[in-house]
Symmetry: C3
Amino acid sequence: MSKIALPTTSGIITLLTDFGTEDGYVGAMKGVILSGLPNSKLVDISHDIRPFDVHQAAFVLNNYSRNFPKSTIHLVVVDPGVGTKREGLVLQSGGQYFIGPNNGVFSYIYRSRKYEAFRIQEKKLGTKISHTFHGRDVFAPVAVRIGKGEPLKSFCNIFTNLYSFIETPEDFKKGEYRLKIIHVDHFGNLILNFTFEDWQNLGGPEDIKVQVNHSFVKGIKRTFGAVKEKELVVTWDSQGYLQIAQNCGNASQLLKKSAGNSVRMTIPKSEN
Amino acid sequence: MSKIALPTTSGIITLLTDFGTEDGYVGAMKGVILSGLPNSKLVDISHDIRPFDVHQAAFVLNNYSRNFPKSTIHLVVVDPGVGTKREGLVLQSGGQYFIGPNNGVFSYIYRSRKYEAFRIQEKKLGTKISHTFHGRDVFAPVAVRIGKGEPLKSFCNIFTNLYSFIETPEDFKKGEYRLKIIHVDHFGNLILNFTFEDWQNLGGPEDIKVQVNHSFVKGIKRTFGAVKEKELVVTWDSQGYLQIAQNCGNASQLLKKSAGNSVRMTIPKSEN
Amino acid sequence: MSKIALPTTSGIITLLTDFGTEDGYVGAMKGVILSGLPNSKLVDISHDIRPFDVHQAAFVLNNYSRNFPKSTIHLVVVDPGVGTKREGLVLQSGGQYFIGPNNGVFSYIYRSRKYEAFRIQEKKLGTKISHTFHGRDVFAPVAVRIGKGEPLKSFCNIFTNLYSFIETPEDFKKGEYRLKIIHVDHFGNLILNFTFEDWQNLGGPEDIKVQVNHSFVKGIKRTFGAVKEKELVVTWDSQGYLQIAQNCGNASQLLKKSAGNSVRMTIPKSEN
């Protein structure tokens, strides 16, 4: 629980919510932060996470957080349990801070990074806290305190009961896997729970075959444009996850598949 | 009409519009402001106000403006009457500035805060003004002038004919009220024109009953999660307005109600 | 290819993409830029360009870029051909920088401004480049290099094979023109490929008549409110393009017309 002197380092505070912008709820959080930390640099990531979709928030956080400099504070407020007993968390990982509810939004961090976890002691914040808007009344004030270099121990204690969800590929039968669509992106690309590392562990088979409904896609291409327009293509996404895309189209709409659905992957003549 | 030296204080300029972002209209305003005030700090509130919906803009402005520090400039450009005789306004309230058209977007400020109001004299701006985009050609340049510390009297005069709309609860009959849905938020919560203060003035009755269509909701709960998932619940919103919500759902879609519709509130054994 | 010392001038980097925000892809680009240029000022223009719509991106870029100060860097990442042979470009124009793919997104700049064009030599960037996300791996790093004042020649070479699309009004027959809808804005205004300058070149005829389906609109009005609510009106848009609007309505929905469709403009008793 070391003290940081944020204003002299990055001063960056990123915001990820499911609030939309149109009610001014995000605006209220921004006002709280800028009132407390006038020199901070607010960075909107997104406010278009589907309402209450902690799975989407967790996946998306993993897409950008590593690209930010040390001492960045990442706020993640997708919080269907606001005002109930779910805890508020602060994580330290790789010199960055992560603030948000204990509902799984940090699942990918738990899996792949070193971190220390703390529970926010709301009573120690000494401010009036509504029961329906902890983004403004708890998480933004915590960001301000961290940004000011206040030690975590003054309003947090160590916590270990972290809620997490990560689904690994299901080894269906020899050479066959049931993969889950863990994310559908803005372009309708279907992102699967199968990483470049998983693939290397299988010996890097070139001839995988992915089946969705009655469509088969063979091989892993370099990029979307490796096939004709409107054809399906399997590539690695920019984080190293396998994805099914339609070149210049929307695979999710074409195949009527969304997050949570499954597809089958076959490795012909598999040796593992 | 005192002079402020904004760059040494907050330098914050917030933006609320119904422009969407996808035409670059907001981008043009940002360019004008940053050209005139290179050190200003632009803060997007929302560009997703429903087109022409001055009621939504007025309500939403009230959700965030108080959270910002003194000397913040709030730009509100929801302006169906652009280019007609409707006036452009500057308000000073609580050390902040509000810039926008005289069409009711500042109604909640008139009701609940101290303010001074001024009319923008467009001819004194000395710039070319289009008839269809005062956000870029009038309101953004006014923000720049204020941000530079230019006295308001050099391009404004005092104005009192302020357009306003605020609907108060309708006292239907003894113990019965017709409440209006004044806002539906991103989560489908139905926000009613009945405040915590209104409720206290009635003696703080615990046993209110809200009726929507054929659904009844009894009592005021602390938060959404106080009822089971998908059940209706009445709570106070984060600004102190009574709201009807569906826990982990969308009350507006469930009840087919939107802003402008009414609901009935009953206070059993009411004594007032 | 002069060196600029951006941090002492504007430090502004604008972002226009078709990414949406909800996957964190824009967030990743922001992280890369802020890691390389901690003092830069990121300005969101829009991430709601229709997926792959380079025509929309090109038109919209023209709506805001001139409003920004010199030394601004404009990033435009609408890039259906990512990972194929399409080139990455840097333009210098009017003291500003434009970075994006060679797919027509800079068409309006080629037509109306002086510029110098360069091709990005990806191999000289010395970083790992994915095949599906050049926004993060090529264009953002190029913005960082330019922002640091690195000379373009260290990672670019001169390039002339610029892809462009601009459609001029079709001179249908004497006094009749087939105009194309080049953009439909957030309010449903239909913006036509006919500029104030085109109109002046025809002698500035007051009595033009625009026909859409079976609707006729006569004359060019000053602003939307010059006609009654819900009536159609023809005005100049804020960039000087002729547009068809419905006052307090949505002309695109009313007339069922979208970008790429045509309308007829007649100049009665035309003398040209």
